[in-house]
């Protein structure tokens, strides 16, 4: 059968569909997002974006309790949010198969930390499968549903960025429809009162022993003997680096990494002269292998970040690899807010009131970079609001303190923070950046923007009414492109002695299909003052004389720079006009 090029995330969606999954639910997060975006395209599966990963995990748990198969998707930090559900679902077990798809981000391409999902699996005592390419992503997801039902346990499929976003060839199968199991009330299994939980805990202990026995013979754990002078124990994408960097070494490729098959590891170690463990992120495998009494060859590979074939090869003395030095002195190119981004106007205005800004997670975190330099903290989803209150409690800041949080992030974890501010009598200011979408992860629907995962209309959350209901005394709506009006509201509300919510409402620039006519600089009027440069718009730069220049191909005509120019030097021009100065 012809094989198809698929990303790991596309293959996970395909595998879940082939496994007869009924429901997919999750919260977007790089590098996991495309799993649900692809699964929703298949017939016979319903998908939902949940407001956060905990809700998603609970929905999936309910589907399982109802007797159908469910997959719940998230990035590594999302599992922290869902962990409360996972740790007790491990005790209740499942009715329909329940699979957690969790994507780690070694190297932190798009993440605030580099945690290793296997730690949560060990803590919650659920099994983990680790694919190393797209074909395994498909087959492991199908296997995960089988194991979930066979061992009465949620199963984690752990991806990493290179497996999720890497593409490789996949052989696809057919869908096997799985009948929904009839619902039966089972209080001892599903109501985690202490007495019942203690009974279920025995089940968890017994299950772990059974899973270890399964792993010893499972095809997911594969021994490949080549030259036996060096034996490498590895998993996930690291296996590919080992095969390329150390093509002659024998390998024990572990697909089921929690729980580990101790006997298989001991047998492999006995048949090779030296044993080394090569894995990305935490030393999970290596600590367990050491605990078995197996002496490991130290390799000096980095403790964090991504590995590569070269790193692996060099760790074992393969010399004579081609070298090319990096060119020094190049300007960095960090990601930036798009031309026409409404966030730019809001952060420009916040700079005017010299606010201490506790930030949050989304595109707007990029406003922390120069020249806006508009953020004092960014930790985790929803942290902006609790932290603004906390900074206020510390009493050390004389300047205005504001929390800044996006619409989707507010729905995810911001509402409870605002509730606390109201409850605690805070007179603080929370700004919700409502750009009508979950922008950073690729414009997903969310409860605020009224778009469902399949693009259909959903109820739109009334942020103003919600903020008032939670306890905000003043709720103001501003257009962040209108700089003076935004600044006036910021001044009023940060000075007021009541809890305020400011909703900065304007759609993401990428949602606007028809750009307005661009602007250009009138060379005679420009005084080279640099005010427009301080917006940090990628369409605006200086020429050799220091005069401002607008790239009309990049400009989308948002008009923020018109408002900051005190010399009327920014003028509207036609779409493809070759502007040569003058009015």
């Amino acid at each position: 059968m012809a094989r198809t090029l698929m990303s790991g995330n596309e293959a996970v969606a395909r595998g879940a569909w082939e496994a007869g999954v009924a429901i997919g639910v999750g919260y977007p997060g790089t590098p996991s997002t495309e799993v649900l975006e692809n699964l929703v395209k298949y017939d016979g599966v319903r998908c939902e974006w949940a407001p956060n990963e905990k809700v998603a995990a609970e929905v999936a748990g309910g589907v399982s309790l109802g007797g159908a198969r469910a997959i719940v998707t998230m990035k590594h930090v999302g599992l922290n949010v869902a962990a409360d559900a996972l740790y007790s679902q491990s005790y209740t077990g499942v009715t329909g198969g329940l699979v957690y798809l969790v994507a780690d981000d070694p190297g932190m391409h798009s993440s605030q930390n580099e945690q290793d999902t296997r730690n949560h699996a060990v803590g919650s005592r659920v099994p983990v499968l680790e694919p190393s390419d797209s074909q395994e992503a498909l087959t492991f997801v199908k296997r995960a549903f089988e194991l979930s039902e066979r061992f009465d346990v949620p199963v984690i499929v752990r991806m990493t960025t290179r497996v999720s976003h890497g593409k490789s060839l996949v052989e696809q199968g057919e869908r096997h429809d799985v009948a929904v199991r009839p619902y039966q009330r089972d209080v001892r299994k599903n109501v985690m009162l202490p007495g019942n939980a203690r009974l279920r805990q025995r089940q968890v202990n017994a299950r772990e022993t059974e899973l270890v026995a399964y792993g010893a013979a499972a095809e997911e754990n594969r021994v490949e003997y080549r030259d036996t002078s060096l034996g490498v124990i590895t998993s996930g994408i690291a296996y590919q680096y080992v095969r390329e960097g150390l093509p002659d070494a024998s390998t024990l490729k572990l697909g089921l990494t929690v729980p580990l098959p101790d006997d298989l590891i001991l047998e492999f170690a006995s048949k090779v002269d030296r044993v080394v463990v090569i894995e990305e992120l935490d030393p999970y495998l290596s600590l367990r292998v050491k605990a078995l009494g197996i002496p490991l060859v130290e390799h000096g590979l980095p403790r964090s970040g991504e590995l590569s074939p070269r790193l692996v090869a060099e760790a074992f003395g393969s010399g004579a690899l081609p070298v090319r030095d990096e060119v020094q002195g190049l300007p960095p190119r960090p990601p930036l807010l798009c031309p026409g981004c409404p966030h730019r106007g809001l952060f420009y205005s916040l700079g005017k009131i010299r606010a201490v800004v506790t930030g949050d997670i989304g595109c707007y975190t990029l406003a922390s970079l120069a020249p806006l330099s508009g953020m004092d903290s960014c930790v985790c989803m929803g942290a902006s609001i609790g932290m603004a209150h906390g900074v206020d409690l510390a009493g050390s800041v004389e300047r205005p303190i504001v929390a800044v949080i996006g619409d989707s992030t507010f729905a995810h974890s911001g509402i409870t923070g605002l509730l606390h501010m109201a409850y605690a009598g805070s007179t603080g200011t929370v700004i919700i950046l409502d750009n009508r979408t979950t922008a950073m992860t690729g414009h997903q629907g969310n409860p605020v923007n009224g778009v469902f995962i399949d693009g259909s209309a959903a109820p739109e959350l009334d942020l103003e009414a919600l903020s008032r209901a939670v306890g905000a005394v003043s709720v103001r709506i501003v257009d962040p492109h209108e700089l003076d009006a935004t600044l006036a509201v910021l001044r009023e509300e940060t000075a007021a002695q009541h809890l305020s919510v400011i909703i900065a409402k304007a759609p993401c620039a990428l949602l606007i299909k028809e750009a307005k006519d661009p602007y250009a600089i009138d060379e005679e009027l420009c005084t080279k003052c640099g005010a427009c440069i301080r917006l940090g718009c990628p369409a605006i730069s200086r020429d050799d004389t220091g005069r401002a220049v607008i790239d009309t191909a990049t400009c989308v005509g948002c008009g923020q720079c018109v408002q900051v120019c005190r010399f009327d030097a920014v003028v509207r021009v036609g779409p493809s006009c070759d502007f040569g100065g003058g009015r």
Partner: protein
């Protein structure tokens, strides 16, 4: 059988992801094992982006290290210089003669790099003006396909395979313009290679 590695380097928004997808699908259509790696998410917001496409009898790693790539196709000159470390000695270097200033340069925090073209030229770069050729082809947004046309000159695939994959992969209304863009890029590279 050896593995061929192609690195595409550019700026988020330039269409490197679609270009890499076309190249990978062409390699699949010609019977190779293929792996592609790219990074989505935050980097796409105008940051530096890299795509790796590798093909051969059996490909293990989707990513490569310095000094390994057989072909570097750069969509912008700063990024060409930044990613030059991937290219093996004697590898093919195709560069779009365009400089896009990054934000630190735009706001005057960091000086604009100079001498990029000369430095790349001394590395044997084949230059082309992808945006101008894309306009000539009738679609300014097809500069990424112009560059795939240029890349195709040094890759062992049939033109008809490229044409078929491009036809399947780009929006239906833009197929003709993209096919013209592909051939303009391929011809430009042929001329550049002759000059060398």
């Amino acid at each position: 059988m050896s593995i061929t590695t192609v690195v595409l380097a550019g700026v988020g928004g330039q269409g490197t992801i679609l270009a890499g997808d076309v190249l990978a699908k062409v390699a699949v259509a010609e019977g190779h094992d293929v792996k592609l790696s790219e990074v989505h998410g935050m980097a796409q917001r105008g940051g530096s982006v890299e795509t790796f496409v590798r093909f051969g009898a059996q490909v293990f790693s989707p990513v490569v290290d310095q000094g390994v790539a057989d072909h570097l196709i750069a969509f912008e000159m700063t990024e060409a210089t930044r990613t030059l470390r991937y290219l093996r000695p004697g590898g093919t270097l195709v560069v779009n003669r365009r400089v896009m200033a990054s934000l630190p340069v735009l706001i005057g925090d960091v000086p604009a790099p100079d001498g990029l073209e000369a430095a790349l030229s001394s590395e044997g770069a084949i230059f082309l003006d992808a945006e101008a050729l894309a306009c000539e082809a009738g679609s300014p947004r097809s500069a990424n396909i112009v560059l795939m046309g240029a890349a195709s000159y040094g890759l062992p695939f049939d033109t008809t395979t490229w044409e078929r994959v491009i036809g399947e992969r780009v929006p239906p209304k833009t197929v003709e313009a993209n096919l013209r863009a592909f051939h303009l890029g391929r011809d430009a590279c042929a001329e550049g290679a002759c000059v060398l």
